[in-house]
Subunit: 546 residues, 2 copies
Amino acid sequence: MTINWQTQAQKGKDILNNSIPKQWLLPIDRLPPVSQKSVVDFPRQSGLLNERELGITDMSATGLVTEMGNGKLSAEEVVIAFLKRAVLGHQLLNFATEFMADEAIARAKEHDEYYKRTGKLVGPLHGVPISVKEHIAMKNRTCNTGYVAWVDKVTTEDALLLELLSKAGAIFHVRTNQPQSLMHLCCSNNITGTTLNPFNRTLSPGGSSGGEGASMGFRCAPLGIGTDIGGSIRCPAAFCRAYGFRPSTLRNPGTGIKVAASGQETIRGVVGPLASCSIEDLELFQKAVLDQEPWDIETSLMPLSWKTVSPTRDMTVAIMWDDGWVRPHPPITRALRYAKEKLVAAGVKVVDWEPYKHQHGWEVISALYYPDAGGKQREVLAESGEPARPLTDWALSYSRSTPLSHHETWALQEQRDIYRDEYHALLNRRGVDFILCPTYPAAAAVMGESQYWNYTAIWNVVDLPSVVFPSGITVDPKVDVFTEEDREYVPRDEVDEREWRKYQDPERYEGAPIGLQIAGRRFKDEETLAAARVVEEIIKEKQSKI
Amino acid sequence: MTINWQTQAQKGKDILNNSIPKQWLLPIDRLPPVSQKSVVDFPRQSGLLNERELGITDMSATGLVTEMGNGKLSAEEVVIAFLKRAVLGHQLLNFATEFMADEAIARAKEHDEYYKRTGKLVGPLHGVPISVKEHIAMKNRTCNTGYVAWVDKVTTEDALLLELLSKAGAIFHVRTNQPQSLMHLCCSNNITGTTLNPFNRTLSPGGSSGGEGASMGFRCAPLGIGTDIGGSIRCPAAFCRAYGFRPSTLRNPGTGIKVAASGQETIRGVVGPLASCSIEDLELFQKAVLDQEPWDIETSLMPLSWKTVSPTRDMTVAIMWDDGWVRPHPPITRALRYAKEKLVAAGVKVVDWEPYKHQHGWEVISALYYPDAGGKQREVLAESGEPARPLTDWALSYSRSTPLSHHETWALQEQRDIYRDEYHALLNRRGVDFILCPTYPAAAAVMGESQYWNYTAIWNVVDLPSVVFPSGITVDPKVDVFTEEDREYVPRDEVDEREWRKYQDPERYEGAPIGLQIAGRRFKDEETLAAARVVEEIIKEKQSKI
């Protein structure tokens, strides 16, 4: 018996629809019109959340834990506030794949009882609602990874990361959307459809952790979990005015995260946090996980404890204005220029970063994404017969037409390591501690147009920890005009031209926040987060009108 | 123009022969007869080394550094003593591929001058002669890796490890032999031929770091460097009454070590020390290397500093008597039994270790050795037209007949990691700190018979640091008889039968030393060495006649 793929896809949609807590759904006529681009102010206007709940959902995870520790907030009310906001967010942005309201509330009540009984918090993430990218497996729930073929597959174990977070007190209330194949910087699949950007619904929330981007931007949770093999945590964070951290490989546990090409190691994906409010929350997440020594279970991980490092302004930050291949759009350059001014004024040593063979880096990583010529992806698509989405085709077009031989793969792996060592030596030689750079050539991608990954993927191939944070600047078509001079820019090649032309009409990017990226030394994850905190603080000190 | 492989091979032989310091060669009639099995007592009988030199070559690296620090020994006389012993060793065992006498002596003189001028040592390995397995590249020298095709290839850089050791004061005086393909636990190639075991020249010195085994056993250097992807450091150490350490992967730097399947990561080889005198020397080597933070150059390495740990008897040692597949020969079991008695008497907690799926472990690792069906090896053999040695054919017979697909490779990599995690969890569950076990089913392999690797390869797939040290016991055909009961042993399968039958004639193993192996937790390299030190100490305390 052949089941058509739409029937299968519907099952995934049903799981989602059946899970939505109906009591918090707004009737369609109370929602803003579909044509309304930004919906970030709607929670207040909606009437769904009261003042206290609005206040709760504006707080950071760190702040929430403090208040729960003081007894000023209960875990239950925290979880309910975020659940309400998430339901609203889902109505506006289609970011969820499954709600877990009852379980989350029950868990929160247990936490409250524990607190009442002992006067203590369950752990460093006591009562913090965390949204979770769907392909991070949850016990007794399906895990489809964005593939129609897998909508029925129920997992028997929690991903190790979830186990650890749960032990630290976190509460998972909603699972979030991802693109088909996990290899779009957008967020669209054949099961639950397309997720929108809360700041401008004609824009993508980024991908592949796009549901997380929307969740953070709309504050459906103070923390979220994404995965990143080329920018999939960082682009959604940047596109949605949020925070995102790509740790060095082999620090956070990957056990139980489901991907098509499982067991592939040519380029390792990582799992890491997104946050709606602060870098401090990213640190809170990392510390809560690594303090539990996950390497004692997942033995491939680096046995490196999470260190507390003191932030310092005594550092050299190099600004990479352009990666030498694709010129960033004018508002990105404006944000970097603004950042430079503030950093220099604050006494931080700032130099320019001349990019080192980024196109070569892309050739290596893009070939190593698909040693099998995308065979595994095509196999899983063929299993259900679902059509490939345009951006799946786009991503697969990076692969060679036939599988790499083992010898070609090994040669590329050598190239990867040599490039990594060379890049590191260059940082040493130039005396640079951190690189401040764009996250993407645009502030955000117009839906379906996210074609250039190399401002983020470059740190995947070099394997540098990298943090995205909001610059505080958003695209203003009146300020960030496409000038006559811009029009005369002679692109380096057709890729540069394609990306540059996208900005010809600045209106398309209206209201898009600009996220900047900071990369640090390999395995210096703690130092990189601390530096990002300092840089953000400086950039946002007494922020003048911009 | 076709050059036949013999002509090429001769070039490698010429490099060796031209490099031998002729002044120390003994005329053949002063050498023991070829039929004489053990030659370990010959240095004293030879008259080549005087009493002082014999004393020097009996010292540990640690001891030598101390005496050079006291000014009681000069680096020059140390290097000359070991060079003389190495030349003699080479005449008896054919273990070298190239001598570097002039350079080594010149270097030693520089060290002596430095010491005279400053009163200080150059570094923690000041003046310590180290023998080096040939495929560890040396600047401006050829690096053939045991392949005739590569005898002409000159390297332009020192291997990173050599650079670091040299900075620490070490002096490289001789390069050592390895088998064709590097995948024999014996030591025979078509260039410089076959290396012999100093304790019994009908036995193999082990492989693939067989030249190192012989070098250590004959004390041609206090320290040596080998590589290990299935036992290639540990078997030579065990077969030659020496010490050998297989560190966890990604601790010691591999840059500049030349192998056919370069860039392959399915199973990672490691580089590590062998020592002729003590575990302390293995620690000295490791500390000298890791104190220089090689991860700041080779960024794939774990950024883990070398820790000093205090040895303790408060540990649980599990003895694995048998791996559940191939029964060890009677003298191995005798050595383990003796070790157990001593450990128990010393108050160490000793339990039995039930092996966990070692045959599965072998299936995974043996498949992952050759994802390309050995294509790369065959390619390099074909380049010169040299014939494959029998043990090369044997090793390649582990591979499937056609290359693995990427998907098969990925599935096996997953199996590898799952097995690793399961093994680790089992150690935790059983409360075992260290496993004491055989290194090989026999005390040493009869030349050409080294067919079973899984007492060592198992720790490569699980990736546990493991140390080999001499048990103090050697095979005595009068004690280690093949009894009627042994004759009646019913082997589990043809592999077990093959290995068991090899002992039917115990005389073949006469005088072979028995090396025991201790494996610790992944990345607990320091603790494993410290534990091995304690165990060896206990086993050798007031050693009774055995």
